[in-house]
C-alpha cells in the first residue's frame, strides 16, 4: 500500500518534470541576453499587443525572453513572479509596476546589481528604473473628454468607470477626463470601481442608466470596463443614445464602434511599449547605449478612433491584436 502510493507520487512528479521540461523556452545562444518580462495583466488584448512587441524585439535583438505575467493587476500576484524569475539570473527586466511603491526597493536592488530595468504601462513613485514607457494617461483622458464633448455638447450626466482605487495610471485617465468635462461645464458622477471584472462594470452602468435618465455618456478607462459598459448599453437598448468613449482598442471594441455602440476609442501603443522596452534593456546590457544619458520618461502615443476613421489604413495598426497570430510587424511611428 505504501509502495503504491509512493509510486503514484513519483510518477506524478516525473510527469510534472517532463511536462515543464517540454514546455521550456529556447536555450541560450552565444550572444543572447537574458531578459525577464513581468507583465501586469495577462489575458487582455492590450497585453497581447505588448507581448507581440516584446517577442518581435526579442527575435530582432537576439534576446532570450522569459515572458510571464499575472492574472490580475495585483502586486501580491506580481511579486512571486518576480521572485521566481530572479532565480534564473536575468541580465535585465521589463516590469509593469502593479503598485507604484512596493517595487521601489526591488528595482533599486536590480539596478544596483546592473540588471537593467525598464517599466511600462504605469508609473513608479520614485524614478529608480532606467526608463518608464507608458501612455500619457492624463492627456489621454483629456482627449477622451474632447471626443465626448464633440459628441454630446457637454449636456447631461457622465459616468466614469475606473478600475480600483489607488492606481495612478487609471486615475490619470479618469482625472484627465473629469477635469476637462467639468471645465466645460458638464456634470460628472462619482467614479465607479468595477476592478477588472466585466460583469461588475456592466452592473454599474445598468444601475447608472436606471438612476439617471439624463445620462449622456459613459467613459471606460480600460478594456474590461469597456466590454461591460457596451453590453449594458446594448441590453438597455440605448446604443447610440448614450455615448460610449473608452480607452483601448480591442478588435471587438472596434467592431462595436463600427456598429454604433462605441463612439470613440482611445488607442494606446502596446506594441511600442513591448518592443522599445526590450530593445532598450538589450542595448543597455550590451553596452550599446550610454545609460547615463537615457531619458527617464518615454511616453508612447495615443490615437482617437472614431466612426469616420475606423476603416482608414492609418488606423489599422492602432487596433490591438486579437492573438499572437495577428501581431503587427513593426512599431508605430
Amino acid at each position: 500500500m505504501i509502495r503504491a502510493s509512493i509510486r503514484r507520487y513519483v510518477a506524478l512528479a516525473a510527469v510534472v518534470g517532463l511536462l515543464v521540461g517540454a514546455c521550456g523556452g529556447g536555450s541560450t545562444g552565444s550572444d543572447k541576453v537574458k531578459v525577464a518580462f513581468v507583465a501586469g495583466q495577462i489575458g487582455i488584448t492590450f497585453y497581447t499587443g505588448v507581448e507581440c512587441g516584446a517577442k518581435a524585439a526579442a527575435k530582432e535583438f537576439n534576446v532570450d525572453l522569459n515572458w510571464t505575467g499575472s492574472h490580475n493587476w495585483d502586486i501580491n500576484e506580481t511579486r512571486p513572479l518576480i521572485d521566481a524569475a530572479k532565480a534564473t539570473s536575468p541580465q535585465g527586466w521589463v516590469i509593469s509596476p502593479t503598485d507604484p511603491d512596493a517595487l521601489v526597493n526591488d528595482i533599486k536592488a536590480f539596478m544596483d546589481a546592473k540588471q537593467w530595468v525598464v517599466t511600462i504601462d504605469a508609473p513608479m513613485s520614485q524614478p529608480v528604473e532606467l526608463q518608464n514607457i507608458q501612455s500619457n494617461h492624463y492627456a489621454g483622458g483629456e482627449t477622451a473628454a474632447k471626443a465626448m464633448i464633440a459628441l454630446t455638447g457637454g449636456k447631461g450626466k457622465y459616468l466614469v468607470l475606473h478600475l480600483q482605487p489607488g492606481l495612478p495610471d487609471i486615475g490619470g485617465r479618469a482625472d484627465g477626463f473629469r477635469d476637462a468635462m467639468v471645465a466645460a461645464g458638464a456634470n460628472v458622477l462619482e467614479y465607479v470601481y468595477p476592478g477588472t471584472d466585466q460583469a461588475k462594470a456592466a452592473d454599474a452602468v445598468s444601475a447608472a442608466i436606471a438612476g439617471n435618465p439624463d445620462l449622456a455618456g459613459v467613459y471606460a478607462t480600460h478594456e474590461t470596463a469597456a466590454n461591460g459598459a457596451s453590453s449594458a448599453i446594448k441590453a438597455a437598448g440605448k446604443g447610440g443614445q448614450i455615448k460610449l468613449v473608452a480607452f483601448d482598442s480591442a478588435p471587438n471594441q472596434v467592431a462595436d464602434l463600427k456598429n454604433g455602440v462605441y463612439d470613440a476609442l482611445i488607442a494606446q501603443a502596446p506594441f511600442n511599449m513591448g518592443y522599445y522596452s526590450v530593445k532598450l534593456v538589450a542595448d543597455a546590457i550590451r553596452g550599446k547605449v550610454d545609460t547615463t544619458k537615457v531619458v527617464h520618461d518615454n511616453p508612447t502615443g495615443l490615437y482617437a478612433i472614431t466612426a469616420e476613421n475606423a476603416d482608414k489604413p492609418e488606423t489599422t495598426p492602432w487596433i490591438y491584436p486579437a492573438d499572437l497570430n495577428a501581431c503587427p510587424t513593426k512599431p508605430l511611428g
Partner: protein
Amino acid sequence: MTTDPVADDGLNEGLVDDPESESKPRGVWESLKASTAFWIGLFIVLIAIGFGIASAIEHGSPVYWKVSNLLSIGLNASQVMILAIGMTYLIGAGHLDLSVGPSLILASVLAAKVMVTVGGTAEQVAGGEYPNLGLAIVLGVTAALGAGGLVGFFNGVIVTRLRLSSFIVTLATSGIAYGVALVLTSAANIPFIPDQIQSGFGGLQLMGFLPAPLALALLIAVVFWWVLRRTRFGMRTLAIGSSREAAIRAGVDVDVHTIKLFVLMGLLVGVAAVVDIARNANTNVVGHQTDNLQAIAAVVLGGTSLFGGIASVGGSILGTLVPVMLQNGLVIMQVAPFYQFAIVGVILILAVYFDQRRRDRAT
C-alpha cells in the same frame, strides 16, 4: 481491546489522541503514514526535485534549488500561511470565514492611517520624517489587530446568536468590511507610510537569510500546532466540528468557543495585514480578492476535513506552499502564463484526489 496494529484503522488520522492506542505506543511510521501532512510534505519534496532537475536542464544549473529562491517561495506564501492557520481552526470546528480578504484590507487601512497620523505632523510625514515612529508602529499594529479581531467578533456573534451559516454571514461581512475600508480611505491607498517598516520587518532577513515575515508565520504555526494538539482549547475545537451536540453534552460552551475561534481568525487577519503593509510599504486596496479561497484551498490540501473534526496546522502550512512552488517552477521553466494557470489547477486536483484515495483505503 486489541493491540493488533492492523486494527488501527486510520480513523484517528494521527491527530486526536485515541484512548485505545495509549496502551500501545503507535509507531512513528504508523503515525506518519496516517498523516496527510506527511504525504503533502513528500509531494512538496517531489515537486522540488522535479523542478530542480527541470530547471537544471533549462538553465544549466538547478536554479530552483537556490536557497534564495526556496526562501522567496516561503516568503510569498507567508501571508496565506497566517490566514490558513486561523482557517484550520475554524474549519476544524465546522465553520468557514470568507471575509478574510476585505477584513485584511480594512485592518491594513486602519493601521496605515494610525501610523501616518501618530507618526508626526502632516508636513513631517509628507517629508518622510517620523518623530514618533516607535509609538506609531505600536499603535498601528494594535489598530490592525483590533480591526481584525472586531470583524471576527462580529462574525462570531452573528453566526452563533442568529444561528446562521458561517458561509453566508462571512460572505456578507466581507462586503461590509470592504465598503467601510473604501469609505475610510475615500477609495485610495494611504500615502506616506514609513519605509522603515519595510526595511525593519517586511524586507528584513534574519541571520542574513531568513525572511522575517516567513519566520513570524512559522512561529505562529508552531504555537497554534501545539495548542491544537496539546490543549483543551484545541480538543474542544475539534469536538465542536466533529459533533456539535456531543460537545454541548460534554459541557463545552459551544457558542462562546465559536466566537473565540472567529476572533482568533480576526487577530490573525490583523497580523497578515501588518505583514502586507510591511512588505509593500503601502496598503493594497486593489488586491486580496482570492485570499479566502487560497487559505481554504491550502487547509483542505493539508488534510483538514471540510466536514469538521479533523485538522492539521502542519498540513495547512505545507498546503500553502504547493501552489506557490508550482507557479515559481513554471516561471523558471518559462512556461507561457496561460498554461501556468491550467497546470496549477490540474496538479491541485490530482493531489487532493490521491489523498482522498489514500484516506478511503485507510478506513
